[in-house]
Symmetry: C3
Subunit: 144 residues, 3 copies
Amino acid sequence: MKTLTKELWIETPTRRAIVSIHTDVEALVAQSGIAEGLVLVNAMHITASVFINDNESGLHADYERWLEGLVPFNPGSDPATGGYLHNRTGEDNADAHHKRQIMGREVVVAITGGKLHLGPWEHIFYYEFDGRRRKRILVKIIGE
Amino acid sequence: MKTLTKELWIETPTRRAIVSIHTDVEALVAQSGIAEGLVLVNAMHITASVFINDNESGLHADYERWLEGLVPFNPGSDPATGGYLHNRTGEDNADAHHKRQIMGREVVVAITGGKLHLGPWEHIFYYEFDGRRRKRILVKIIGE
Amino acid sequence: MKTLTKELWIETPTRRAIVSIHTDVEALVAQSGIAEGLVLVNAMHITASVFINDNESGLHADYERWLEGLVPFNPGSDPATGGYLHNRTGEDNADAHHKRQIMGREVVVAITGGKLHLGPWEHIFYYEFDGRRRKRILVKIIGE
């Protein structure tokens, strides 16, 4: 069994952002020399997601609006006015901890014949819900 | 390490459908000859899900109604009237790209003693959100 | 390749509860002797989740309120009054089957250097949506 482990660092200039990490993951799979196996890609922070969907900016704007409707940003800590108890810790990012549950922490992707085994439109993204600071994504590849 | 890789093809006659793929995955695990390992089962299309839940038609109808409430089908592309920017690409399936995020892209299931290691009611399903065309599901098994 | 398989039993005294299983998973990784690999942790029941997020009680209370808003508990079986068709089976836990889809069935975590490879605040939890009876969580570790 062979493995490759790599932490990718990312810092988005905005609070929220969707960033393609597709070619980074592709390059690591090639570098691993693994022909058959699995790659795990996960956010190492609990206010961010890794997900697979369409590389289309209109859809990404739709996600933004939709997630904001399901769990609005509110820096307050009083649920009666839309705030979150979590923000009593001094944070203002409770919404981010919720949004990341909708979009997911991780993806697991097959490697076949030395390449990511994906459908025609599958594209790997990082979704930042509380950015403007350095955060990490983990890529772990196992196989042979 | 041994691996087995198989793409399952599916075409649902309706736009939306929940289809059991449980026995297909079971048969592939048996065919693989792998006693201890993991199986990844994922939709290869970004308007579909693979998930594990109850094999009960009432629940499936509940999911349909619930998901439609969270992110309604709307072929329009004007958010002011409930449409989606994604539909400006000529598609009408933006809702499907959202619904799949709720239900998930993939499941990873343990293999123990040559069989799927599942709880008593766990059942593997494919959830089609934009059907009426041929689509694929990937099954990737690794282990020994 | 080495593997370790363990079912953890849990019984929460309340219908809903968030329970840390972090140190249990850590101990199993240490026990496995696996230095490089993956660990799958999944609920074996379809009215429960395993997820990774913050070990902060305010956030957990926020999750409770939020999930209840997205898919309220209702023991009835008439959708016109907020019930669920699933409850016609004699169950009253249809909401639990929905909540678990939001929070997820499983997590897959990397093992590097013999330890869980996690970010600074990642913490592994079990989320019970229909407790007061014995249920199981599966931990499956593969690697070398």
